[in-house]
């Protein structure tokens, strides 16, 4: 199921809220939330939900095992290794198998058939959550969860199950067992949810259509400005899609008493790529930092090697094909160069120049991300950088621009902290009651516009699902 569907909005969400708050006991609430989460997942992946449950059970017992043998490191380590093999094995066999077969065939000249497994939704997210849990238990940073249902809730909670943010067990361990209901938080959560929905439906979906129109076409018909316009639209789509989803997840969390980590902090106003990656998909970045980069030696030992390993893996996490590896290494290289000298330069130039530098690198990066087919990627670069002699513009791009100019301006402003700043000021200066009224009005406006646009629309996939 997806958040931006009418089934979710008008049936699943009210039903889950009503059932959940019908019972005061926390354990019943956890049970209900888990039930709804599994239903949510099974709605889209009726078979793979069994895999999810299986994986949860395995990791739950490994967690207990490690806890039990905490004093005997060697035995505890066996548990850790088994869990890593299990989770990464799942991920590799379901997500990367085709890709590995392709590589093997290319290297050896053999022709193994690709099994063509359809990747279960959200597997990249939940296996990473499980791994972080097991590692934390092993490191002794958290104690293992003693109740299966609670652990199941942590991994499968429908708020963040399919598209993040990637929640660390240590962040929600306390809330799973003893969260308190706060009415104001519920209201704030509903407002945050509506905001996310609005971002997804009004900005990301429209940007997605325009991106598809200009990037998805036969590149022989492309124009220079058309290609850049398409890329800009894709940049808007991917940000508003993903951050809108995170907003909805965080908002739902508040409505049920969970506080998830913020996942985006206005990434497109970053002043360097280093800055960008502190603002973009934060839960993934910190995960790679804490579980790969630092264990490898971080800044102290083999920093260059560590950077490239982390970024190749980050790229690969986003998808099983070469362009994602390329995309990761592209950012790895830039980050490495920034550490060497660019950051010093950027400190010396006006902020405006730093923004231009950063944004152009990000947007070009999205081209690598978009074209999973390297041949088309190369074609696109030829158009973008005028290696291929294509027309500068055509009627289509002029009309697409002018027909969307107000929307475009709105979307660009929405990338900046203007909205958040405005809200903070209103909250400061208005009486709480009035502020809440404003919030309610905003939520209803966002919700109704989103519903209007969702009705009759079948074009509504979340692009971050399969990563």
């Amino acid at each position: 199921m997806v958040f931006s569907s009418l089934t979710f909005l008008f049936f699943f969400l009210p039903a889950s809220i009503a059932c959940y708050y019908a019972f005061p006991q926390r354990w019943v609430r956890n049970l209900i939330l888990t039930f709804f989460s599994l239903l949510f997942y099974a709605w889209g992946e009726p078979i793979w939900v069994l895999l999810l449950i299986f994986s949860v059970v395995v990791d739950f017992f490994i967690g207990l095992f490690i806890e039990h043998f905490r004093e005997r490191k060697a035995i505890a380590r066996i548990g850790l290794v088994i869990s890593l093999m299990f989770n990464l094995g799942l991920l590799i066999s379901l997500k990367y198998f085709d890709f590995l077969v392709e590589i093997t065939n290319a290297l050896t000249g053999l022709t193994f058939e690709k099994p063509g497994i359809l990747l279960p939704v959200g597997i990249s997210f939940y296996t990473f959550q499980s791994i972080s849990y097991i590692v934390d238990v092993y490191r002794g940073e958290v104690s293992a969860q003693k109740r299966l249902i609670n652990y199941m809730l942590f991994v499968s909670c429908f708020h963040q199950l399919v598209a993040g943010p990637i929640v660390r067990y240590s962040h929600v361990a306390r809330e799973i067992e003893q969260r308190v209901f706060n009415l104001q938080e519920f209201i704030d959560g509903s407002a945050r949810f509506c905001k996310g929905l609005f971002k997804k439906v009004l900005i990301a979906n429209i940007a997605g259509e325009l991106a598809q129109q200009f990037l998805g076409r036969n590149l022989a018909e492309a124009t220079l400005t058309g290609q850049w316009f398409g890329l800009l639209m894709y940049s808007l789509q991917i940000y508003f899609d993903f951050s809108g989803y995170s907003d909805m997840a965080i908002g739902l969390g508040w409505m049920f008493g969970f506080r998830y980590q913020e996942n985006f902090r206005h990434p497109y106003i970053a002043q360097s790529i280093t800055d960008f990656w502190r603002r973009w998909h934060i839960s993934l970045g910190t995960l790679f930092r804490d579980y790969v980069y630092i264990p490898l030696g971080g800044n102290r030992q083999y920093q260059t090697r560590n950077i490239f390993i982390v970024w190749a893996l980050t790229g690969l996490w986003h998808g099983a094909s070469w362009n994602f590896v390329l995309w990761g290494l592209y950012f790895g290289t830039i980050l490495w160069l920034e550490k060497l000298f660019i950051l010093r330069w950027l400190g010396a130039v006006p902020a405006f120049a730093a923004h231009v530098y950063t944004l152009s690198l990000i947007v070009v990066g999205w081209a690598i991300f978009y074209f999973t087919d390297l041949y088309r990627l190369a074609q696109s670069f030829e158009v973008l950088f005028r290696i291929a002699r294509v027309p500068v513009y055509d009627f289509e791009v002029v009309t697409a621009f002018s027909s969307n100019v107000l929307w475009l301006a709105f979307a660009c402003v929405a990338c900046t902290p203007v909205y958040t700043g405005l809200h903070a000021r209103l909250e400061q200066h208005l009486r709480k009651g009035i502020y809440n009224m404003c919030l309610l009005g905003q939520s209803l406006a966002f919700l109704s516009i989103s519903v209007i646009l969702l009705v009759g629309k079948t074009y509504n996939p979340f692009i971050y699902f399969r990563f």
Binding site: F10, L13, L183, S190, T399, N436, L453, Y459, P461
Partner: protein, 473 residues
């Protein structure tokens, strides 16, 4: 006090969601969306297999989306919201076909590299599934669900060969000054399969007079020069097709005739069809080719159906079209007719009228012949012994009635739905003339050629393989 307002706030939010759900449950459900020309998704039958594959849940999602309370109104609002996004340049708005924007290259030298994303695939599948429905449920009145889409198997079959590229019916649409015009993206290579089939017909029926009438969709006449760059693509393709048709097939110069009258109301503003007036001019062109004297307009009884918003309005939801609705004119022929339609064979025909004058709203074009039937027979009071078979697409509906003033019997075959052997029909009924009347989309579509080739031998191959049960009924 403050706590109460907080409670109210929270309850109001949840209450609105609940209210939406309750309204949905109690609101009346429609079978068909007139505007979209398709069957709405119905509540799925519970099948364990469908649950396992996820199709069952997907169908529920579609059911909810398709049957949402006040759906049509909300879709209208959505069109308004879309219109607020900016200003069209020079009053020209472009609506691209997002379903098919990843059109494989016409030369397709590297077809294997063209990536088709999952979302596109699924939307095509869905579309296909919807189109299929009316064809297998024989009892649905085709007038209500007529579409010009080719058969589903074509849409799904993304093949590598260049002339096998699936071709869409509604391409990008341009809206200018209250008129919607479809872009035409056909090219000469695409009509070769159709010409080959015509050669087969010529060989098969040496005794018949075979006519071919290419009907322009109006792109040449009404696209702004800025968009067409002055290229008359329809003319290029039609001329090419006429030039490669086998000797002996008579071509009807409908294009030239319509060109002369392009300032008149010969195409709808909001629909992809031509008007009865456009069809009338084509009829005069046909009369000239066939060597008979056409009736003058004043010989017909004119009627009209007001406030028609057609497919292109529903495709674009452009408010400027909504404010410029069409009027469907009918020129009723001055002869008495007896009309029947057939789902299978030439037995058990059901009686119908030449004009379904009750047609209203988005279905108003269905007034002509009452929609698309696999086969129709129009017997007229003209007792001259002349008989003709017309193989047509939906453009033919507005055209065919005029022929009844000159032929004793007109057999009308819809190339999409006809499942019989045309040779049997020719032989049993003793027809003398055979006319293929196709618009420039349909003639460029490989599916057309495939269908019409099968008429020579019997059941379409695809139907035989996949849906024998549907054929029996």
């Amino acid at each position: 006090m403050k706590r109460i307002t907080l409670w109210l706030h929270a309850c109001l939010f949840v209450g609105i969601l609940v209210l939406g759900g309750v309204l949905f449950i109690f609101s009346p459900k429609e079978q068909v969306s007139q505007g979209e020309k398709r069957l709405l998704t119905q509540w799925p039958k519970f099948l364990w297999g469908a649950v396992q594959s996820g199709a069952y849940m997907k169908a529920i999602d579609d059911y909810v989306a398709d049957n949402f309370p006040e759906r049509e109104t909300l879709i209208g609002f959505a069109g308004q919201i879309y219109a607020w996004r900016g200003w069209p340049s020079d009053d020209i708005q472009l609506f691209t076909n997002k379903d098919f924007s990843e059109r494989p290259a016409a030369d397709a030298t590297k077809p294997a590299r063209v990536t088709v994303t999952a979302s596109e695939g699924s939307s095509q599948d869905k579309k296909a599934a919807r189109i299929k429905a009316p064809r297998t449920t024989g009892e649905v009145n085709p007038a209500q669900v007529s579409t010009d889409d080719p058969a589903p198997q074509e849409a799904n079959n993304v093949s590598a060969r260049p002339d096998d590229v699936p071709y869409q019916n509604i391409e990008s649409v341009i809206v200018q000054k209250g008129r919607a015009v479809q872009m035409y993206r056909g090219n000469p290579a695409m009509v070769a399969p159709f010409a080959r089939v015509m050669a087969q017909y010529k060989e098969e029926f040496p005794e018949l007079t075979i006519y071919f009438m290419a009907i322009p969709i109006g792109a040449d006449f009404y696209l702004p020069t800025k968009v067409s760059k002055g290229i008359m693509q329809e003319k290029i393709v039609i001329d090419h097709l006429n030039s490669i048709l086998p000797v002996g097939i008579k071509t009807v110069p409908a294009y030239d005739m319509l060109m002369q009258h392009k300032a008149e109301y010969i195409y709808f503003n909001t629909d992809h069809h031509w008007t009865a007036l456009g069809a009338y001019y084509a009829y005069t062109a046909f009369a000239e080719t066939a060597g008979f004297q056409p009736l003058e307009l004043k010989n017909f009884t004119r009627k009209e159906i007001p406030r028609f918003l057609g497919t292109l309005y529903h495709r674009t939801l452009a408010p400027v079209l909504k404010n410029n609705p069409d009027t469907v004119e009918i020129y009723k022929v001055p002869v008495r007719t007896e009309v029947s339609y057939f789902y299978a064979g030439l037995r058990n025909g059901k009686h119908t009228q030449l004009y379904a004058e009750y047609a209203r709203g988005a279905a108003a074009y269905g007034v002509f012949l009452g929609g698309d039937y696999p086969l129709m027979k129009i017997a007229s009071s003209v007792k001259n012994g002349r008989k003709i078979i017309v193989v047509k697409d939906s453009y033919g509906n507005a055209f065919v009635p005029y022929l009844s003033s000159h032929y004793e019997e007109v057999f009308v075959i819809d190339y999409r739905y006809f499942k019989e052997n045309i040779k049997t029909l020719v032989k049993n009924e003793g027809v003398q003339d055979l006319l293929f009347a196709h618009n420039s989309y349909v003639m460029s579509n490989r599916y057309t050629a495939r269908q019409e080739r099968v008429f020579l031998s019997g059941l379409p191959a695809a139907e035989q393989k996949t849906a024998p049960a549907a054929v029996v009924q």
